[in-house]
């Protein structure tokens, strides 16, 4: 019995020490390494216990069951493997935090990008139907935050019809539908209509998951070209 206690105690001590290193690097507590030996040098870490971060502790996320974590990790890795190390370095993304029921100020969210800390927190439970697309959507926010000057929202907004106006923020609107329109009119999804940066992220994510672009309207075509051109400015070898 004492031996079991000793083993459990030593495991606890070991995990705490590891977590400290991660905390020192990205300032998120209660994390452990899931996988760090990846071809593009992304480091996958997961919530061992729930964590709370942010201004006024307004960001919360919870730990997952091992089987669920393993299943989702495979999907996430497959998608993020499409970005090579050079590109990830340029956009400042290195740590992927895996957890579930992610919320910011009690509003559920798919991901929280932080290009300063080189971190993307992903909610493993977010929208099963569009999970893979959402991964790329969140990656775009990292790209956008790292290259604000390239993804000029004024230029972008001018692609839209004259009387169209985005909402003040992505959570200030009811336009949250993620279904891809069968017939587009400048937007891929209802959520695209929320803000310029969400619109860009939706365009990028649709390009990354090889959506059918055969019946795209002229406005959306301009938006696609804008995204593609700017990605090539970041990395001339970037392949969509």
């Amino acid at each position: 019995m004492n031996l079991i206690r000793l083993i459990l105690l030593s495991l606890f001590i070991f995990t705490q020490a590891q977590a400290d290193t991660i905390y020192n690097l990205i300032k998120i507590p209660n994390l452990e390494v899931y996988e760090i030996n990846t071809s593009n040098k992304l480091r996958y870490v997961y919530a061992k216990q729930p964590f709370t971060i942010g201004v006024d502790n307004n960001i919360n996320c919870f730990n997952s069951e091992k089987n669920f974590l393993d299943k989702k990790y495979k999907i996430i890795k497959k998608n993020l493997d499409r970005y090579d190390q050079k590109f990830l370095r340029k956009i400042n993304l290195k740590y992927i935090v895996l957890c579930e029921d992610l919320s910011i100020s009690k509003i559920k969210t798919a991901g929280i990008p932080d290009n300063v800390m080189k971190t993307l927190i992903l909610d493993l439970k977010f929208n099963e139907s569009y999970f893979e697309r959402v991964i790329h959507h969140e990656v775009f926010h990292i790209i956008n935050d790292s290259y604000k000057e390239l993804f000029d929202e004024k230029i972008w907004s001018n692609f839209n019809v004259e009387n169209f106006k985005y909402a003040e923020c992505s959570t200030c609107t009811n336009k949250i539908g993620l279904d891809t329109y069968k017939k587009t009119d400048g937007f891929f999804t209802e959520y695209s209509r929320s803000t310029a940066s969400e619109d860009m992220a939706e365009v990028f994510s649709h390009l990354m998951i090889d959506s059918d672009l055969s019946n795209i309207d002229p406005i959306l075509n301009k938006k696609i070209q804008f995204i593609k051109n700017n990605l090539l400015k970041i990395d001339k070898d970037f392949i969509l």
Partner: protein, 215 residues
């Protein structure tokens, strides 16, 4: 006439016990007091090195720590380190950040000097030589004994501060610029003063000196 009283057997046993206890107490006191007692002090002149030009000797309270530098991995980082070593800038500089069995950090030339240590600012000081770019692209195993340049949260802010890891830290690869590895004397670093509740050390241990083996 005084009659000579012979000590009984039990009195002799008690006397021996008291003497033994006193010897153990004194011995333990001396052992505990001298933290360097079981630390081997390496003499670099008695060791044969493959590339002596890249050997630096860090002298700390418990003896010598022998570091092999890797200019082929981080040319600018190693160049900066050697520049500061040759100007003796690191002498009497504090190990201001120490995490038990994890890492020791030193090299704040502005606020970490023994004669004018500033506990309010230590860890933020500069060398006056400016910052250098991070060199993190070459694959490198951040195992126990790795010496690397410290930086702020941003890349390309390396200056004079460096740290040495006391355990394997694979997550540090591509985060920090590695400049070398301790090849002898890591035990001396494990004895550097630390605090249980804070990474920053009040009344810290100091670097006695750092010298290149070949000047």
């Amino acid at each position: 006439m005084i009659e000579k009283v012979k000590a009984s057997r039990s009195e002799i046993v008690i006397l021996i016990f008291v003497i033994t206890l006193a010897i153990f107490s004194l011995g333990s006191f001396l052992l505990i007091k001298d933290k360097c007692l079981f630390v081997k002090d390496y003499d670099p002149n008695k060791i044969k090195f493959d590339n002596p030009a890249n050997i630096a000797i860090l002298n700390v309270p418990c003896g010598n720590v022998i570091i092999q530098l890797y200019p082929e991995i981080s040319p600018n980082g190693v160049k900066r380190f050697i520049t500061l070593v040759k100007s003796r800038a690191y002498d009497d500089v504090a190990f201001h950040r120490v995490i038990k069995d994890t890492l020791v950090q030193a090299g704040d030339l502005e606020f970490g000097k023994r004669e004018n240590i500033d506990y309010g600012k230590i860890g933020t000081g500069k060398s006056g030589l400016g910052t250098i770019n991070s060199e993190v692209d070459t694959p490198f195993d951040f195992d126990k004994g790795t010496v690397a340049l410290a930086r702020t949260q941003k890349y390309n802010t390396e200056d004079s501060q460096f740290f040495i890891v006391l355990r394997d830290e694979p997550l540090y690869e591509t985060e920090y610029t590695p400049i070398g590895k301790v090849i002898y004397g890591l035990k001396a670093l494990e004895k550097i003063k630390y605090l249980d509740k804070s990474q920053y050390v009040l009344r810290p241990d100091f670097i006695n000196s750092i010298r290149m083996l070949i000047n």
